[in-house]
Amino acid sequence: MARNKRSIPEINAGSMADIAFLLLIFFLVTTTMDVDKGLMVKLPPWSEEPPPDNNEIREKNIFVVLVNSNNQLLVEEEYMELPNLRAAAKLFIDNNGDGSCEDCRGARDPKSSENPTKAIISLQNDRGTNYDMFVKVRNELLGAYSELRNELAERKYGRSYDLLNEEAQTAISEVYPQFISEAEPVSVGG
């Protein structure tokens, strides 16, 4: 029969590339590849009453960092420039005044912190402080901790902290736990 000879015409796929290109360009334009990055912070839980005066925390175990509304730093009642903060914080954390921290290399100054598990950094800012300055100060304090952890990791395992397995990382973060307190805003003045 003559009808059987008729073959189905092939669909022209030439325009497929054009359609795909169109879609591709759309997704190329709308795509945003940014991964959100930031300084991770844990806030203390809310309580109505002011925190009790804790006499157990001794004065020498607190490293007070004040930032005033002119973005100036007062560290342990002395004026300080931002580039020096990291070293000062490291000295304070690593001091090891009572000698209980075996991995520390601190100066064991009796006037500074007893050991890293007792050392607390208190960051206080004025309501007029710039956010930029606050983040920079916060970054320096976190940097002090991560430098100490890295140095210990190099000494103990010969690798930097990030490359260690989870177990070793916990061991090191137990030697240098992070205690940074962001106090409620006070009027520091200036």
């Binding site: 591709l24 300084l39 809310w46 930029d132």
Partner: protein, 161 residues
């Protein structure tokens, strides 16, 4: 002498473009998978600060964003820094209910990982951010992240102050 050499045609054969759609489709799928649409239109100006000690926020579905900065439309909203919650400008008082609502949307098992990312402009004063932090504490949203851009080295951060 016998003719050994064949006569070659001088014309170069056309490059086959048959695989072009395949390549394009491959790229298309890549971008389709990696693309994320912009969730909100920014009503405030945000220039993020720089920092070096940064961590990645890997779970986008567990993160809520709060934007802070001076409004783009100064005629309508003034020039004082404001808080943007989703697609509208809010005040500090709205933050608590906003965060609680957002947390309710998450699967219960993963609620402890709920993170609030604060995307604030460098010129915002800490007073407003402290107020926000107090509200977050009241809402029991204790994991927060100060959103920053990566800086090359610590020295880069010392320049302005």
């Amino acid at each position: 002498m016998a003719q050994i050499r064949k006569k070659k045609s001088k014309e170069t054969p056309p490059v086959s473009t048959a695989s072009l759609p395949d390549i394009v489709f491959m790229l298309l799928f890549f971008f389709m998978v990696t693309t994320t649409m912009r969730e909100v239109t920014l009503l405030v100006r945000v220039k993020k600060p720089k920092a070096t000690e940064i961590q990645k926020l890997d779970r986008k579905d567990l993160t809520t964003y709060i934007y802070m900065g001076a409004p783009r439309n100064t005629e309508l909203y003034g020039s004082e820094p404001r808080i943007q919650l989703d697609d509208q400008l809010g005040s500090v008082g709205d933050v608590q209910s906003f965060v609680i609502l957002k947390r309710e949307e998450i699967n219960e098992a993963e609620r402890p990982k709920f993170t609030v990312s604060i995307k604030a402009d460098i010129d915002v004063k800490m007073g407003l951010i402290s107020d926000l932090k107090q509200e977050l504490r009241k809402a029991q949203a204790l994991k927060i992240s100060y959103s920053t851009n990566p800086a090359g080295s610590p020295e880069e951060l010392y320049k302005t102050y």
